[in-house]
């Protein structure tokens, strides 16, 4: 008993826990963490609902004592049409403001402003992809704020149907912001319907009295079926999409470019000078074309990032190996620096990867995180191997065994064999699995492992260097009980200014602060 208490005290000392509890009747719907007040530490934005009132509240992180308190530092009851929000420095006020988006525009909420009439103002018109507001929530969409042209000012990147609208922030000498300079990037033909892959449909018969054919569509979110199939058909059924834009430096010229992955090509809008994108994008034939089979493949994923530190974008694809009799996954690594002079950028003329990794089972990249502390992103993957599943044991325990691999970044790709293998026993049934090497909380230079394999528990395991690579220390150094349906909000990486991990529960947001 005493040992247990001592153990508990030891593990809990690694992080301080504080809570933001909603007022009576309030329910947390979404949350986001970013430095709002400009003090260098991430604060908390919470979208909540109470009855029919939707509210966004700002909770600033305290430097001493409890990191967060339940009393909001600012809050705004949202208009019915607000769809999503983000934080960005889009006004002369100190720190960041909150940008609200509805179907037709972006608006700033100046949370420091006390005069009601000046609190919310329109920034610009746009056609937000997600036009329909949820009656219960507004979701956080921080990807809408990026400094695209490198001038130090936050720009708006708004996904619209079949296109991305980039609204560049300009500031006058009086500090007044404007978003009049805009550029619209259209990755494909507007009739192509993005990457949502449809069924091979029979021709529609248009005749009064003919029974309506149920409509179906395969999307990345699953299979959608016409929801009014018993009636006369929907009044309107609108499906819109755009490939998720990736804003990265493609060619190493110091400017951020915009990448879209179409079905058969990687479309690259290069920024030739600050705020000016090429009219005609580069279209690089994709070595892993997107087909319906790929969209349904649990292993399929494509990621663009600079793997080798040459400031140019590299690319990793993973996909199930259909030619293999056994279940296995191929990981294809494309490094820009290995493309021969004169050949097509990134994929070369032949689309031959600079490295091919084969993983047994249903595998999928979990992340590209600097695990060993050398500053380069390592490859983290998870795999479920059918031949290792004991059906009876899985049925009895209601758990599935999976393996986690870390392949260290060698500068010319990744290690040929995993430098770390760790078994996870995952609680089945609606778990929001977390398996992240989130950051170094022990100070040994190696990122430690955050694991939520049980619905009701987050564990932090120390990761150590060994002679053969890396190992996860079995005994956790920190355990945090969670509500079974809590969602975890994790920073991109634990480190300076963002040492907090959040658990979003129905009526509260709890914070574990590791510094």
């Amino acid at each position: 008993m005493i040992a247990a208490i001592l153990c508990m005290a030891a593990t809990q000392s690694l992080a301080n826990v504080s809570s933001i509890v909603m007022p009576e009747g309030g329910r947390v719907m979404d949350a986001s963490t970013i430095d709002v007040d400009g003090d260098g530490s991430s604060d908390m934005l919470i979208a909540s609902v109470n009855g029919t009132t939707r509210t966004i509240s700002i909770h600033l992180r305290r430097a001493t004592g409890a990191a967060f308190t339940s009393t909001a530092d600012a809050s705004l009851d949202l208009q019915q049409d607000v769809v999503c929000f983000a934080a960005g420095d889009v006004h002369a006020d100190l720190g960041r403001e909150i940008v609200l988006f509805n179907a037709n525009g972006a608006f700033v909420w100046r949370w420091r402003e006390s005069e009601e009439s000046r609190r919310v103002a329109k920034l610009a018109a746009c056609e937000l992809l997600w036009q329909w507001p949820d009656r219960l929530t507004a979701f956080a969409w921080q990807s809408a704020i990026t400094d695209v042209d490198g001038d130090g000012l936050d720009d708006l990147t708004v996904p619209e149907p079949n296109r991305l609208r980039v609204l560049f922030q300009r500031r006058g000498e009086d500090g007044k912001c404007s978003f009049d300079v805009q550029q619209v990037l259209v990755p494909g033909d507007s009739d192509s319907g993005g990457r949502a892959l449809d069924f091979d449909r029979a021709a529609e018969v248009r005749q009064a009295g003919t029974k309506r054919r149920t409509r179906m569509a395969v999307t990345s979110g699953g299979v959608q079926i016409d929801g009014d199939r018993d009636g006369v058909g929907p009044y309107l059924w609108i499906q819109e999409n755009v490939p998720a834009p990736q804003i990265v430096d493609f060619d190493g010229d110091g400017d951020r470019d915009v990448l879209f992955l179409e079905n058969d090509a990687l479309v690259v809008f290069t920024q030739s000078s600050a705020g000016v994108f090429a009219n005609e994008p580069l279209r690089l034939k994709s070595p892993v074309p997107v087909t319906r089979a790929r969209e349904l493949d649990v292993s399929y994923l494509a990621k663009s990032l600079d793997l080798d530190g040459d400031q140019r974008v590299d690319c990793v694809f993973s996909a199930g190996d259909k030619r293999s009799k056994d279940v296995r996954t191929q990981v294809l690594v494309f490094l820009s620096k290995f493309v021969k002079t004169g050949e097509a950028a990134l994929f070369g003329n032949e689309g031959t990867p600079s490295q091919l990794l084969l993983l047994d089972g249903f595998a999928r990249p979990i992340g590209f995180e600097d695990v060993d502390g050398d500053g380069k992103p390592d490859f983290v993957a998870g795999a479920v191997k059918p031949d290792l599943i004991d059906g009876l044991r899985a049925a009895a325990s209601e758990r599935i065994d999976a393996e986690l691999y870390v392949y260290k970044n060698t500068g010319v790709g990744f290690s040929k064999r995993p430098d770390l293998v760790h078994k996870i026993s995952i609680q089945a049934g609606g778990l929001d699995l977390v398996a992240r090497f989130l950051g170094d909380v022990t100070g040994d230079g190696v990122a430690d492992f955050f694991e939520r394999a049980d619905k009701s528990l987050l564990k932090v395991h120390m990761v150590r260097r060994t002679r053969d690579g890396l190992t996860v220390v079995e005994k956790p150094i920190f355990e945090w009980p969670l509500e079974a349906d809590a969602r975890l909000l994790l920073p991109r990486r634990l480190g300076a200014g963002s040492w907090d991990v959040f658990a979003i529960e129905k009526e509260a947001v709890r914070c574990a602060s590791f510094r």
Binding site: A202, V205, L266
Partner: protein, 556 residues
């Protein structure tokens, strides 16, 4: 016959006589086609082809009786092509068809001129009936409907999670302008979803929005459709009056949440769970053949039957309360025997527990369904003991075997879907009998069967009989994926055989090359006004350019 090589069929058809389908006329290629319809627009006999492009350009094509290119009328244009819903309807009975456009400007109408052109200016009919949804492109919607049966077309526009009903009134002001007055704001279950993951290159940002149509049905047998509102568990009924007025407050409303079976839940097999929810199930159908729908509500193991009358539905005096042996997952009212009265089918689905599903990762697993049928006794009641009973099991392959190649499974069902071919009907040969046209399974030909009286429509009773056979008459109650695919394929073919009488087609038309074009849609219609129906085929270019072309196929 389907298995015969195409060459034999072509030879047989060639030998059988002069029956032939020819392309009478084709439109030029149209860029960025958004949608199309056939409608009488130029005042002459027959219908015209109306096409609207993504940019809102309105095209009208008229077709002559002889083989000749279409006459292209002057183009019109919609002001806001990305925010508009369209309908081609009359303003009132016996008036000309025109174009209703609902947009943020309100509901406007464009009248076609004598050539069918929509070149003229739009007239704002209902400025306050604003439609603010972004449609992305001009889209047809059921926005112009005679809601109250008074012979005048009313308009319906979405607003938030509701549909506004604007009824056309007799103009009381100066001139003959029509007037629209909002009579109801009907809550509907708008469903929207979004994909917002953006961290990976392979992520797709998606938005889907479905706004259901207004539900209209005659619930009191007066011959006029009434307004049915479904808002979560609540149902409300606005009965349309003789003068066409619609009460703002519903005449009858019910909250299904009040229907609770307070008895203990039925027993379940160990390790299994009941599929379904605690919410009440609502079904409506005429049980006593009085022309007025009755209501059946099931919750838990209890079933309530409410008789509908000329006063409309009522939910206070059940004509029948049943207690089933098992909890009910779904209830249906359908004909399980050969009399005219629909019977009651209660279904209980039992699915394996999480543990069994996990075992099913690597081995097959079963879903079990119990069906019981209660005969309609003819007095707005069902028998208290079930007449039909069955237990059906469905064996599902191991989950990981499906995950290894889901495309394979999907392709199988896609193949099945192609066998369910919808017929286009019309008097194509002008002999006064209805003929049918079907696109072949491989989408290479359009086949036409001349009307002979052998063909029969597939109606609801046929569906009832099919379900009856599967649930209660087929002795093999064990199903798996292979049997399901085979049965669905056979069922699709049977439905086609019902339509065609199992005969060879009388004529066959080769569709455009599948390497360049995809047949997207077709419609029968008398485009040249000669009393015979032609078939308009709409093709989409496969190169993703958005080009479309229309062929008019006619009997020669």
């Amino acid at each position: 016959m389907r298995q015969l090589p195409l060459i034999f069929v072509a030879t047989l058809i060639a030998q059988s006589g002069a029956a032939e389908l020819v392309v009478r006329s084709s439109t030029p290629e149209i860029e960025h086609c958004a949608d199309w319809k056939l409608a009488p627009l130029d005042g002459a006999p027959g219908v015209e082809l109306f096409v609207v492009t993504r940019e809102g350009v309105l095209e009208t094509f008229s077709f002559a009786k002889r083989d000749a290119g279409p006459t292209r009328a002057k183009t019109g244009r919609i002001a806001d092509a990305a925010h508009c819903a369209l309908a081609l309807e009359v303003l009132q009975t016996d008036s000309k068809t025109g174009l209703f456009v609902a947009s943020p400007r309100g509901v406007e109408r464009l009248e076609p001129d004598a050539t069918g052109s929509f070149e003229g200016a739009a007239v704002l009919l209902a400025p306050r009936a604003k439609m603010t949804v972004r449609t992305g492109r001009p889209t047809f919607a059921p926005l112009a409907v005679d809601v109250n049966g008074d012979g005048r077309t009313d308009v319906i526009v979405p607003k938030g999670n509701a549909l506004e009903v604007w009824v056309q009134n007799v103009a009381t002001g100066a001139g003959s302008d029509v007037e629209f007055a909002k009579v109801a704001t009907v809550q509907v279950r708008v469903s929207s979803s979004e994909s917002t993951d953006a961290g990976d290159l392979s992520d797709d940002l998606e938005s889907s929005l479905q706004i259901p149509s207004l539900h209209l049905a005659d619930v009191n047998g007066d011959g006029r459709d009434d307004l049915l509102v479904e808002d979560g568990q609540k149902r409300a009924f606005h009965l349309v009056r003789v003068d066409g007025s619609i009460p703002a407050v519903p005449d009858v409303s019910v909250d299904l949440a009040i229907f609770k079976d307070t008895t203990a839940r039925g027993e379940l097999t160990l390790g299994r769970t009941l599929a379904g929810s605690d919410k009440a199930v609502y079904e409506s159908r005429d049980l006593d053949a009085d022309g007025i729908p009755d209501a059946v509500i099931a919750q838990g193991r209890k079933v309530w039957v409410f008789h509908g009358s000329k006063a409309g539905p009522q939910f206070t005096e059940p004509s029948n309360v049943l207690k089933a042996a098992d909890d009910v997952t779904a209830a249906m009212v359908l004909k399980l025997d050969d009399d005219e009265r629909p019977d009651l089918l209660l279904v209980r689905v039992v699915v394996p527990s999480l543990g069994t599903i996990l075992r099913g990762l690597v081995s097959s697993w079963e879903i079990e369904m119990n069906a019981v049928g209660y005969q309609n006794s003819g007095e707005r009641k069902f028998d208290t003991t079930p007449k039909w009973k069955s237990r059906i099991t469905f064996t599902v392959p191991s989950i990981l075997s499906i995950a290894k190649d889901p495309e394979k499974l999907l392709t199988r069902f896609e193949g099945v879907g192609k066998k369910f071919r919808l017929p286009a009907e019309g008097d194509f040969d002008g002999d006064g009998a209805a003929d049918v046209a079907l696109v072949s399974e491989d989408a290479t030909t359009l086949d036409v069967w001349r009307g002979s009286g052998a063909a029969s429509a597939v109606d609801d009773d046929a569906n009832d009989q099919t379900l009856r056979r599967v649930l209660f008459e087929d002795e093999n109650r064990a199903w798996d994926l292979d049997r399901l695919v085979a049965w669905l394929s056979s069922f699709g073919e049977q439905r086609v055989a019902l339509v065609t009488g199992g005969r060879e087609p009388n004529a066959r038309h080769a569709l455009r090359s599948k390497t360049e074009w995809r047949l997207a849609s077709l419609a029968p219609g008398d485009v040249d006004g000669d009393g015979k129906s032609e078939i308009v085929l709409s093709y989409e270019a496969l190169d993703g350019s958005g080009r479309a072309v229309f062929d008019v196929v006619a009997w020669k």
